[in-house]
Amino acid sequence: MRYILFLYAAIAFVVLAAGSIILPDWAMFLFAMALAKGLVCLGIVAMMRGGVVSFGQGLYYCIGAYTATLAANLWGVSDIFALTLFSSVVCLIVGMIFGPMLATYRGIFFAMLTLALSMVLYGTLSKMSVIGGSDGLNIGSPTFLGWAPEGRDLQTALYIYVVAIVVITGTLMRIYFDSEQGLITLATRDNELRVEYLGASVRKVMAYNYTFAAVLGGLGGTIAVVALGHVDPEFAFWTTSGEFVFVAILAGYMSVPAVFVAAIILEVVRSFSNLYFPNTWQLSLGIFLLIVIVTLPNGLGSLLSRRKGGKT
C-alpha cells in the first residue's frame, strides 16, 4: 500500500514542479505563498482530526518567520535549508512546551487559549522596537547550499523548494494519519472515554498533534517570510489565524492534498477580489466561508474520501 502513496507523492511533485516552467512570476509567487500557508493549515487539520481547532496557529507562523529573519539578520545565515531547520527546531521546542499544557483543553477553550497565546506574541512583538516593533523586519534573499540565484532563477528555486517541502511533509503526514497513532487521533475526536479505557493517553494524542502542528506552522512561516522578504507582527494577529482555520475547514480533515488545494483557492480568490473588488475582500471571504460551511460541512476532502465524516 505504501508504494502507491510514494507514487502519488512523486506525481504531485512533478506536476507542481512543472509549474515553475509554465507559471508567470506573479502566479509562481502566489502558489509559493499558498503552499506555505497550506503547511500551517495542514497542522490545523492534524489537530482537527483529534477534535480541536486552534484559532492561534499564527503563533507558529510568526515564530517561524521571525526566527528565520533574526537568524539571517543577526548571524548572517542565508542558506534556506539552515533557516528552515533552525526555525522548525525552535517551533518544535515551543510546541513541546505548550502542547502538554493545552492538551487538557477542548472546544472553545482550546480555541481561545491558542488564540490568546498568539495574541501575546503579537502584543510583545508590536512593542519590541529592537526588532522592528509593529513595522517588522526585512530579510534578504536566500541562498541554496551556496548558490545565490537572482530574478526568475530565485523565484524558481524558491518555488521548487516549497514544492519539495510540501510533498515531503504531506507524505509524512499522510503516513502519520494512516498509522496507529493516526487512528487513535480519529478515535479521540469521537470518544475520548473509549480511548482512555483502551489504555491510551488522550492527552498525549493531543500534545503530539499540537507539536506537529507547531513545526508545520514554523515551516510555513519560514517559507512565507523568505518569499515575501518581510515579516511583521500581523503574522500572529488573530485574523491571520482565522484565515488558516478557514482553509482547514474548506479542506476538511480527510485529505492532505485538499488542504493545499484549499489554500490555493483562497489565495486565488484573494488576488482576484483584490483586483476586481479591492475594498470588499473580507466580505467575499465571509460569504465564501458561509457557503463552504453550509454546502461542504466536511470540507473538500470529503468529496474525495470514502468516509462520511461527522461533526466538524
Binding site: 499544557m101 487538557t104 477553550f109 497565546l117 510583545t124 488573530w238 471571504l285 458561509l290 460551511i293 461533526k311
Partner: protein
C-alpha cells in the same frame, strides 16, 4: 498611593464599557450556545452609528441643548440592535443551533468578516470623532487628580446595565423562562416555552449591549476600521475568565482585565497588549472552565 488610585480608577473606567460588551457576549452564549465573534462588529457598528447620529444631532442645531446628544448615543445602540439583531438571528444563526460550538464560532467569524467590509462601505476608512458628549459633563477632581466626568458616567452606566440584566434574569417572569431555556432548551420547549422567541430576544439584547458599549466609547476614542477585531478578543478573554454564560463572571472578568490592564499601562507598558491573555491563561490554569462556570461530570 496616587499611583494605586490612578490604576484603580483607570481600571474601573476600562472595565465599565468592557463589562457592557462582555455581558452581551456571555448572555448570547448562555442562551444560544454561540460564541459570537460578530459581537465585535456590533460594537464597532454601535460606535459608528453613534458617531453619525451625534454628528447629525449637532448638525441640525443640537448645540442649543447638547445633552440631547446622550439620547442620540443610546438611540444609535437601539437602532443597531433592532435592525441587526433579528436580521442575524432569524436570517442566519438559527440554522446553526445545536451544531458544533467551534463550527458556530466560524459562522460568526464569517459574519464578522462581512460586517467589517460593510462598515467600510458605509463609513469609509477615515476616523470619526465626536468629542462633544465627552466634554459635556466637565471634570471630576479626586485628590490631586482630574478625571473626565464622562468616564464616570460610563462606569455608572455599566452598573445600571449589569443590575438591570441581573434583576431581569432573577426577579422577573421572563427572566425565569430565559434561565429555564439556558438550563435545558429542549425541556423548556416541551413545557410550552417559545424557545425561538427567547433566542431572538436574547440575541437582540446581546446585540444592544455590544452596540451600547460601542456607542458609549465612541466619544472617548477615534472611531476607525479594525475597532471590532480588537474589542472582541478582549471581550472573549473576559467571558472566558468569568465562565461562559455567567453574569457575575462577566463583571469579575471585566474588573480583573480592566485593573490589570491599567496596572500594566502604568507599571509595565510593554505588557499592555498581552496582559489580558496572561490573566486569562492563569485563571484557566486553575479553573479550566473559568471562575463561575458550573462543571458537569458526564455519567457513564
Amino acid at each position: 498611593m496616587d499611583l494605586l488610585a490612578t490604576i484603580v480608577v483607570d481600571g474601573l473606567i476600562y472595565a465599565g464599557w468592557l463589562f457592557i460588551v462582555s455581558l452581551g457576549l456571555t448572555l448570547v452564549f448562555g442562551v444560544l450556545n454561540i460564541l459570537n465573534i460578530a459581537h465585535g462588529s456590533l460594537y464597532a457598528i454601535g460606535a459608528y452609528a453613534s458617531a453619525s447620529l451625534v454628528g447629525a444631532y449637532f448638525a441640525v442645531g443640537g448645540d442649543a441643548f447638547p445633552y440631547g446628544s446622550y439620547a442620540a448615543l443610546i438611540l444609535a445602540a437601539v437602532l443597531v440592535a433592532v435592525v441587526l439583531g433579528p436580521l442575524l438571528e432569524r436570517g442566519l444563526l438559527r440554522y446553526f443551533y445545536g451544531r458544533d460550538e467551534v463550527l458556530n464560532v466560524l459562522v460568526t467569524y464569517a459574519v464578522f468578516l462581512i460586517l467589517e467590509d460593510v462598515m467600510k462601505l458605509i463609513w469609509g476608512v477615515n476616523p470619526y470623532f465626536v468629542y462633544e458628549p465627552y466634554t459635556l459633563l466637565g471634570d471630576v477632581e479626586i485628590g490631586p487628580l482630574f478625571y473626565v466626568g464622562y468616564d464616570f458616567a460610563v462606569i455608572a452606566a455599566a452598573i445600571v446595565v449589569g443590575l438591570a440584566v441581573w434583576l431581569t434574569l432573577n426577579r422577573t417572569q421572563i427572566g425565569k423562562v430565559v434561565l429555564a431555556v439556558i438550563h435545558d432548551a429542549e425541556m423548556s420547549q416541551t413545557m410550552g416555552v417559545n424557545v425561538q422567541r427567547i433566542y431572538l430576544g436574547a440575541f437582540t439584547a446581546g446585540a444592544f449591549l455590544a452596540a451600547l458599549g460601542g456607542a458609549l466609547t465612541a466619544p472617548m476614542i477615534s472611531v476607525t476600521p479594525g475597532l471590532g477585531a480588537n474589542v472582541i478578543i478582549v471581550a472573549f478573554a473576559v467571558v472566558i475568565i468569568g465562565g461562559l454564560g455567567s453574569v457575575p463572571g462577566a463583571a469579575i472578568g471585566a474588573l480583573m482585565v480592566g485593573i490589570s490592564r491599567a496596572a500594566s499601562v502604568h507599571l509595565l507598558p510593554e505588557a499592555e497588549l498581552f496582559i489580558v491573555y496572561f490573566v486569562m491563561a492563569i485563571v484557566l490554569m486553575f479553573r479550566p472552565e473559568g471562575l463561575f462556570a458550573k462543571t458537569k461530570a458526564r455519567k457513564i
